[in-house]
């Protein structure tokens, strides 16, 4: 039965695999369609002039208007923009200088763009500023030149001549009339320049280059994008329109990336963004965390490579990932990476989709959920059913046991035959067989019970014939020789007679129970009289009676039967008890019972047959002159049972001595 959940899990696993595959195929189809649209879109964007061969600059998308204040640290506009730093090099003197003499000044910059402006942040290492002094225009001063090309191949040239730390103007030197405009901030702070400026993106959408001239360690030291006079490099930027385009294909759990041939991120849509947009969905999914956990335990393969964040500072980290569709291990859900190559005007683009298995998970998980619920319901029903069935069987067995225990008394006598079950099952059969057995047993017991009586009755007539004949013989005159044999024959006959009487005595006693007369008598007085009588009858023995004279020993019993019981006990005792030691009666009142013990110093019972002492035909005696069938104690037991009392025998501690204890309920 426990195979059921396992089989269920296997089937869910298969379901999950096929879902994953179909999802993968679906994704593939979707991506193919998306690829065509993207290709079209990219074509329209005239990216054909991208010169990506000599490296390019990258500007990620910034969604806000940035404050040009010369700060890029914490709490500045740059804090949330992940963009790489680019270096500007001193191409001019590299060859001529030794390594030691090489200027230790470095310049780096970073970019960000939105659909209006390209933001530029340039930082130098520590230096001494040389500001432009309009009063001494020929004196060497620090200067920034920028070349930019837009997608109409219009070249723009910009120049900034800082006159001090603070706001600076920028001059577009490419135009006929040189115009100045507020460019941003040129700060000299903590020993180095922080230059934060912005230029319109429509003038720099294709390429941009920098030529920073510093005069710190050397005069007119150029830090440039390229050594040539046309030092611009192509600009790759993350574009809002592409992002919007990608958003059209977005699905839950799907992250889309568009990379150029240098693996720069030109467009992206993250699944997380969508997830953040739909927190309420998340909340709904939460209750299934348990099944998700089960699901992950069951289906996550440890052989898959681990998933890492694919992009860093705007660039795809491991291009080899793009070669093939692959699955990655991630917590809590696995991810699948798909990539497509788009070629636009000879330029390579990678369209990458990272799909987490959420979708298939949710379906499979839902399936698993339903399956598990179904399975556990079935198991619960089966278990409940089995339990109920087992309980009913157990109950029937217990009932049967109770019935039969109640039906057969401690002596093995059958009081009433229990009704047999009518059910057609094995227990019903057993019940019927038991009933039949009990009936047969009952018949046999009855037969045995009457056997002795019948036997004695049948034997009595021939014995009477023999005895009357012998007695007649006795009355006729016989010679002494014959008289001797006659006497022996008479003795034998008498003994046979006694045996026959004894045989039927127990049976007769049970008949006499019907006529037993119950009487409320003071048991102590009755015992006083009885011991007096026993003293007379068995004059050679001593009898003692002990009881508390303050107690009331009134009891309801059948006196004649109790006397008979005691007669048997005493007759038994005097046979064994030594003459010099008394036979002791003790009467106690214990709650609602009277306890009478009869104690004598006769030899111990052999311990193994004490429980059988009170059975019919069991004798403890070795030898005896009178016929002894072991019926005396059996009669004691019958009378005790008739009074709903308890009789027990045990050995006294020490070498010898036995005690019989009779417990009689006072109110019967």
């Amino acid at each position: 039965m426990l195979l059921l959940p396992w089989a269920g899990c296997q089937s869910v696993s298969i379901l999950e695999t096929s879902l994953r595959q179909s999802h993968s195929q679906l994704l593939d189809v979707q991506m193919t369609a998306a690829t065509q649209q993207l290709q079209h879109k990219l074509n329209q964007s005239q990216h054909s002039v991208f010169n990506t061969n000599q490296g390019n600059y990258y500007a990620p998308l910034t969604d806000s208007k940035m404050l040009l204040d010369g700060f890029d640290g914490e709490e500045s506009d740059w804090e949330n923009i992940t963009t790489p730093w680019f270096q500007l090099n001193t191409y001019d003197y590299v060859a001529k200088l030794s390594a030691e003499a090489k200027p230790d000044t470095t310049v780096k910059f970073k970019l960000a763009a939105n659909d209006k402006l390209l933001y530029i942040f340039i930082q130098t290492s520590a230096l001494t500023p040389h500001y432009y002094n309009p009063m001494q225009p020929l004196r060497a001063a620090d200067q920034l030149n920028i070349r930019s090309i837009n997608n109409t191949s219009l070249v723009s040239r910009w120049q900034i001549n800082p006159q001090g730390s603070g706001r600076v103007e920028m001059h577009n030197t490419s135009q006929a009339i040189t115009t100045g405009r507020d460019a941003g901030t040129w700060l000299w702070r903590d020993g180095h320049y922080n230059i934060e400026i912005a230029i319109p993106i429509e003038l720099a959408s294709n390429a941009i280059g920098f030529d920073l001239i510093l005069n710190d360690s050397q005069l007119n030291q150029h830090f440039k994008s390229k050594p040539t006079t046309t030092y611009e490099r192509s600009l790759v930027r993350e574009r809002l329109d592409l992002n919007h385009q990608l958003a059209d294909y977005l699905q839950p759990g799907l992250s889309l990336y568009l990379l150029n041939s240098q693996y720069w991120l030109v467009g992206q849509q993250n699944a997380e963004q969508l997830m953040n947009d739909s927190d309420s969905d998340n909340d709904q999914a939460d209750p299934s965390w348990f099944s998700n956990a089960i699901y992950n335990k069951l289906f996550t393969s440890n052989t898959l490579p681990y998933w890492r964040e694919p992009t860093s500072l705007g660039r795809w980290i491991s291009p080899q990932q793009l070669a093939q569709t692959a699955w990655y291990q991630d917590s809590p859900i696995n991810k699948q990476l798909h990539s497509k190559v788009i070629i636009v005007n000879g330029q390579l683009f990678y369209f990458v989709a990272v799909q987490d298995s959420r979708q298939s998970l949710l379906s499979a998980s839902a399936a698993l959920n339903q399956l598990l619920i179904l399975l556990f319901t079935i198991i619960a029903v089966i278990v409940t059913g089995l339990f109920a069935f087992a309980s009913s069987l157990s109950w029937r067995i217990v009932q049967m046991k109770k019935n039969y225990r109640a039906a057969i008394d401690s002596d093995g006598k059958i009081m009433a035959v229990p009704a047999a079950s009518r059910l057609p099952d094995e227990l019903g059969d057993l019940s019927r067989v038991m009933q039949q057995l009990t009936i047969n047993q009952g018949k046999y017991t009855d037969y045995l019970a009457t056997l002795a009586d019948k036997l004695s009755h049948e034997l009595k007539t021939p014995v009477a014939v023999i005895r009357t004949s012998l007695e007649n013989l006795e009355l006729s005159n016989l010679d002494p020789e014959a008289t001797k044999y006659l006497t022996r024959a008479m003795q034998g006959t008498n003994r046979l007679s006694q045996t026959l009487n004894a045989l039927s005595e127990a049976n007769k006693l049970e008949q006499s129970f019907e006529y037993a007369q119950w009487q409320v008598v003071p048991f102590d007085d009755m015992l006083e009289e009885l011991t007096a009588a026993y003293r007379q009858i068995y004059s050679s023995h001593q009898f003692q009676l002990e009881y508390d004279h303050n107690d009331d020993h009134t009891i309801n019993l059948a006196p004649e039967l109790i006397v008979q019981l005691l007669d048997k006990l005493i007759s038994n005792a005097v046979d064994y008890a030594p003459v010099d030691q008394p036979i002791r009666f003790k009467l106690n009142k214990i709650n609602t019972q009277l306890q009478l013990s009869v104690e004598n110093q006769g030899p111990h019972f052999s311990s193994d047959n004490i429980p059988q002492l009170f059975d019919s035909m069991v004798s403890n005696r070795q030898q005896s002159d009178t016929p002894h069938l072991g019926l005396g104690l059996h009669i004691v037991k019958l009378i005790s049972d008739f009074h709903r009392g308890q009789i027990s025998a045990k050995n006294l501690p020490g070498e010898k001595g036995v005690i019989f204890e009779l417990l009689l309920p006072i109110d019967t």
Partner: protein
């Protein structure tokens, strides 16, 4: 002399036993007729009644033929002494027999001597009843009790108590020495019966009931447990 005139009918299906008893009875002078079944016995009794009938309970095919015969005999004669002699020793049988008006119930394991003694005792009672009441009759009087030994009559508060012969001798033995405990053996000897203890108990019960019938307060026979009974005078 008298004995030879006395005629005993012995109804017993077991021929050997019947003849043994017949021989014993004849040896001491009784005239004995043997019958082996109820029909033969009834046919003979229709002609002439014996002086005493000794009957077995089971007669050939009739399990209780003896009881039926006893019932018929009682209708024929109120006074005819009837003794049951049977192998059955159940109390039920004995009570049935005494209830049917039998004077005694003996089991076959009693010795022939005891049977003879019972027979003699019964005849003595008959003789005594036939004697006219005389002045010198032996009478025992204790309180409300009066016993005429010659006539075997008992009175309580001057009303006659109808006792069987066995019961009469028991009452007589007890009342003769009030206060003295008479054990079962003594009572059996007095009643000339050999009965087991339970039978004496049965007799005592019946005696008490008969006295109670006249006087609900009757309580003169006390049980001395294990010893026997004694007559108590209030």
């Amino acid at each position: 002399m008298i004995k030879q005139q006395l005629h005993i009918a012995l109804v017993e299906d077991e021929i050997n036993i019947a003849e043994n008893y017949r021989d014993a009875l004849q040896r001491i002078g009784y005239r004995v007729s043997l019958f082996h079944n109820r029909q033969d016995a009834l046919a003979a009794f229709a002609l002439t009644l014996p002086d005493m009938a000794i009957i077995d309970v089971g007669l050939q095919d009739e399990y209780e033929g003896g009881f039926d015969l006893c019932r018929t005999l009682r209708q024929l004669s109120e006074t005819l002494p009837i003794i049951f002699l049977t192998a059955r020793n159940s109390e039920l049988d004995e009570i049935s027999a005494l209830r049917l008006g039998a004077d005694d119930y003996l089991t076959k394991d009693v010795s022939i001597h005891q049977v003879l003694a019972r027979v003699a005792a019964l005849f003595r009672r008959i003789q005594a009843l036939k004697k006219p009441q005389s002045v010198d009759e032996q009478v025992i009087t204790h309180g409300s009790l009066r016993i005429n030994i010659e006539r075997i009559e008992t009175y309580w508060q001057d009303q006659p108590v109808m006792l069987t012969l066995t019961e009469f001798w028991i009452v007589h033995t007890l009342a003769k020495y009030p206060g003295q405990v008479k054990n079962r053996d003594q009572l059996m000897d007095a009643a000339h019966v050999v009965l087991d203890n339970n039978t004496i108990t049965t007799h005592i019960k019946r005696i008490r009931k008969k006295f109670n019938h006249i006087d609900a307060e009757f309580n003169a026979i006390k049980t001395a447990y294990g010893m026997g009974y004694r007559w108590v005078i209030e």
